[in-house]
Each structure stands twice: as C-alpha cells, then as structure tokens.
C-alpha cells in the first residue's frame, strides 16, 4: 500500500472535475492498493469502513449461498467505485467482494473521509453527488437487467 499523489487520484473517472484542493484533501485519506486475484475485499455483514476506486482489474460482488457456489451479483472494473455501505447505517456490507483478477485501486479510508467532509462542506457535497451518480448508474443498470433484454420479442409467439 502506498500514499497517493493527488495528481494520480484526480485522473480517476469518479473524481474527474473535482477541485484540485479537494482532491488533495482526499489523497491524504487514500492508499493505492494492489489486490491479487482471489483477494477478499469484504464479506457480507462485516463492518463497512472503506471504499475503492478501481483503476485496473475486476472485482466481483457476491452473495454466499450455503451448500452452493456464491452467486455473482455484478462485476466491476476500471473506473468503477466499490463500496456504498460505509456511507449509511448500519455501516455493514450487504454483499461480499473478491478480486477475480489482479486489481489495482485507490482505497479510501471511510471514517477519515467522513471527517474531511464534515470539515470541508464543498468536498462533502462533491463526494456525495458523485456517490449518488454512481448509485443511480448502478440502479439503472439493475433495472435494465430486470427487463430481460435478450428475450425474443413477443414471447416467442411468432415466426
């Protein structure tokens, strides 16, 4: 794990356009991490304190099912953010997450970031808006999956 230069952090899609002084504040609460394939980021039900901005590789969100392989809910990759549960009560992970291939990320220290946001409202607002946009994007993707996009038209009644 390494401290992160603000210039590197500002290049992540999630933070693009954020004021440089705000990125510099975040950089003090962020580490650059390299996660080997198979590395477990968190487990369902465990306390949620961190958030990751992926820069390379792939992470799978999963739901363990007793007696069966874990269900993969979604995979996330470069440019994505992982970890919303640290923001709101009960501050517990709702799913698990594993790096499925060698992965690089910026790891944000949740409590430290929250303290920064309390102290610097502009940073807090910017971060909240970005988290909201990421959550909306994921919600929309989930809704699209519910549509069963690849089903044949007309329920297969014609042709």
């Amino acid at each position: 794990m390494n401290a992160v230069a603000a210039s590197l952090l500002s290049g992540h899609a999630f933070l693009r356009g954020m004021h440089p002084s705000d990125v510099a504040l975040l950089a003090d609460a962020t580490l650059a991490v390299e996660l080997p394939a198979g590395h477990r980021l968190f487990d369902e039900g465990a306390p949620a304190a961190n958030c990751w901005l992926l820069t390379a590789g792939q992470v799978a969100l999963d739901l363990p099912v007793p007696g069966r392989p874990s269900l993969i809910v979604e995979t996330l990759g470069s440019g994505d953010v992982i970890g919303f549960s640290w923001l709101s009560p009960p501050h517990e992970w709702q799913f698990g997450a594993t790096a499925v291939e060698p992965t690089r990320a910026f790891e944000l220290d949740g409590p430290a970031v929250q303290a920064l946001c309390d102290e610097h409202p502009r940073l807090g607002y910017q971060l909240a808006m970005r988290m909201l946009a990421a959550a909306v994007s994921r919600l929309q993707a989930t809704r699209i999956r519910l549509l069963d996009l690849y089903a044949p038209p007309g329920g297969g009644a014609a042709g």
């Binding site: 899609a13 792939q58 799978a60 392989p69 269900l71 993969i72 809910v73 979604e74 995979t75 990759g77 470069s78 440019g79 994505d80 499925v100 993707a141 699209i144 999956r145 549509l147 069963d148 996009l149 690849y150 089903a151 044949p152 038209p153 007309g154 297969g156 009644a157 014609a158 042709g159």
Partner: protein, 271 residues
C-alpha cells in the same frame, strides 16, 4: 413471381447447435444461387409446408450462405430442426448492410445482445480479415447466461485476430470468470474513443435503444451508431408495406439504419 421473390432451393450442408434454442445452418445452392450478400443483410427462409421468415445472414460475404436461427415459433422451429441434406427455400438477399468498411482508419465497435451477435458476425469477420484497415476492433457482447452465448467457440479466435472482446452475462453460472452485468456497462470499460468509433449495434430493440443511449452519453455521435431494426418483413422488396416503421420500409431501407435516423422512431408507441 419475379426473380426477387421466387425462392431458390438450398440444401443444408451442415447444422451446428449454438445454444439450446439456436442453430447455425450452412446452406449450399441446389440450383441457381441467390445474389451476393453484404454483412447485415437478411434472407427470407422458407420451411416448405410451414412458412417463411426473415433471417439475418451470419456469415461473411462469399459464395456460402450461413444463417443462424433461434427457434421462437413454428417456422423457425422447422428451420432449426432441418438436418443435413434437407432442402429449404431462400429469397434475397435483402436490405442494407452494416457498412463496416466505413470505419477504415478508425475504430470499429460491435455491440451485440443475445442472438444479435449473429447478424454482426459477418461484419466482424470481414473486418478481422482486413485487420490492418482499422485501429481498434472492439466487440462487446451481452447474454442472459453463459450457456446462451452464441458463437462462444469463436471468441478466442477473434481475440487472437486482433479484436478486444468483452462478454457480460446477466446471470453467472459456476465457472464463469467474465463480467456480470448489463451490456451497456461494458461501454465504459472498453475505453472507447467516442469521436473515432463507428458502432454497430444488434439485439432486441430495447437493448439497442438503451445501448445507443449509453453510447451517446459516452460521446459517440448518433450518426456514428448503426442499429439493425426488425419488423414484419414479408415481401422483402418494399411492396407489401408490412415492415413499415414511420417513413421507412425496413426490408429496403433497413434492417441497418443510422441511429440518428432511427432514434425518433423507436420511442413512438404507435409505430
């Protein structure tokens, strides 16, 4: 009947199961073949005694005719069950092609949903055969589950041929190591150059609308997105009007249409 509407007899040379409900037939002419085709065009396939349906050509331009068919009704079931040696009727080819060569010097991006990969396969193979003409060739594929991926056995060859291939499924099964999520999520991961990309999109209509919208949000101009639209193709020669979509007769003006032209039509309920 004119030559354009008279079926030619073709014999099934081979049949390969792609998924539980989809097969690829390789057809060879019994008598006079139909005219040369472009990737993206379709034919009317006639299961004798059952009926006729429009099916996209899934092979590259050339003497052979490769058609991939999903069994969704009586006619397609009859075609899917056709074994080697069986004779079927073929009319066409009809409609517009993808025009993949327009991406020469730029990036060619192919986005497929489900069996929508079949009409794109010919364009992709043609581009890979002339790989040096393009900068990147990117293939983004979405499917319900790994066992519903068509042409799954060819993906590695496409990668080896110089394409960046990303595949995502809605529901992973044991052993699946690829992406899980909707195909639109692959657009961001592919790190496209939106100003330099010609994007060909094929799949169910809702999937194409959402994909085109996501591409536009990533900066791809609507005029650089092409979609393949399907309506009730019957005559194939723009005479019967069954395939009308607003001002378009899709058997002639489509199936491949610029999204800039198609977008205003795709959200009109009455069309």
């Amino acid at each position: 009947m004119t030559a354009a509407t008279l079926p030619a007899r073709y014999r099934v040379a081979s049949r390969a199961a792609e998924t539980h409900d989809t097969v690829t037939l390789v057809l060879e002419p019994v008598d006079q073949p139909i005219g040369p085709h472009l990737p993206g065009q379709f034919t009317m396939l006639y299961a004798f005694g059952i009926g006729e349906v429009p099916i996209s050509i899934s092979g590259p331009a050339g003497p052979g005719l490769v058609q991939t068919i999903r069994s969704v009704g009586a006619v397609t079931r009859g075609l899917c069950e056709a074994g080697a040696g069986q004779v079927i009727g073929v009319r066409g080819p009809y409609g517009t092609g993808w025009g993949e060569a327009d991406a020469a010097g730029r990036d060619l991006v192919v986005v497929a949903g489900g069996i929508g990969l079949a009409p794109l396969r010919g364009a992709l193979l043609a581009a890979l055969a002339a790989r040096e003409r393009y900068r990147r060739i990117v293939v983004l594929i979405g499917a319900r589950s790994p066992d519903e991926l068509v042409f799954a056995g060819e993906l590695q060859a496409w990668r080896a041929g110089g394409a960046d291939v990303l595949v995502t499924v809605d529901r992973a099964t044991a052993g699946w190591a690829g992406h899980v999520g909707v195909v639109t999520q692959l657009i961001g991961r592919a790190q496209l150059d939106p100003a330099a990309a010609l994007v060909l999109v094929c799949g169910p209509e809702v999937m194409m609308r959402l994909t085109a919208r996501a591409l536009c949000e990533h900066g791809v101009p609507p005029g650089n997105i092409r979609v393949s639209l399907e309506r009730n193709m019957r005559c194939g020669v723009a005479e019967c009007g069954h395939c009308q979509l607003g001002p378009l007769l899709l058997c002639r003006d489509g199936p491949v249409v610029s999204y800039a032209r198609a977008a205003p039509l795709l959200s009109v309920q009455e069309l």
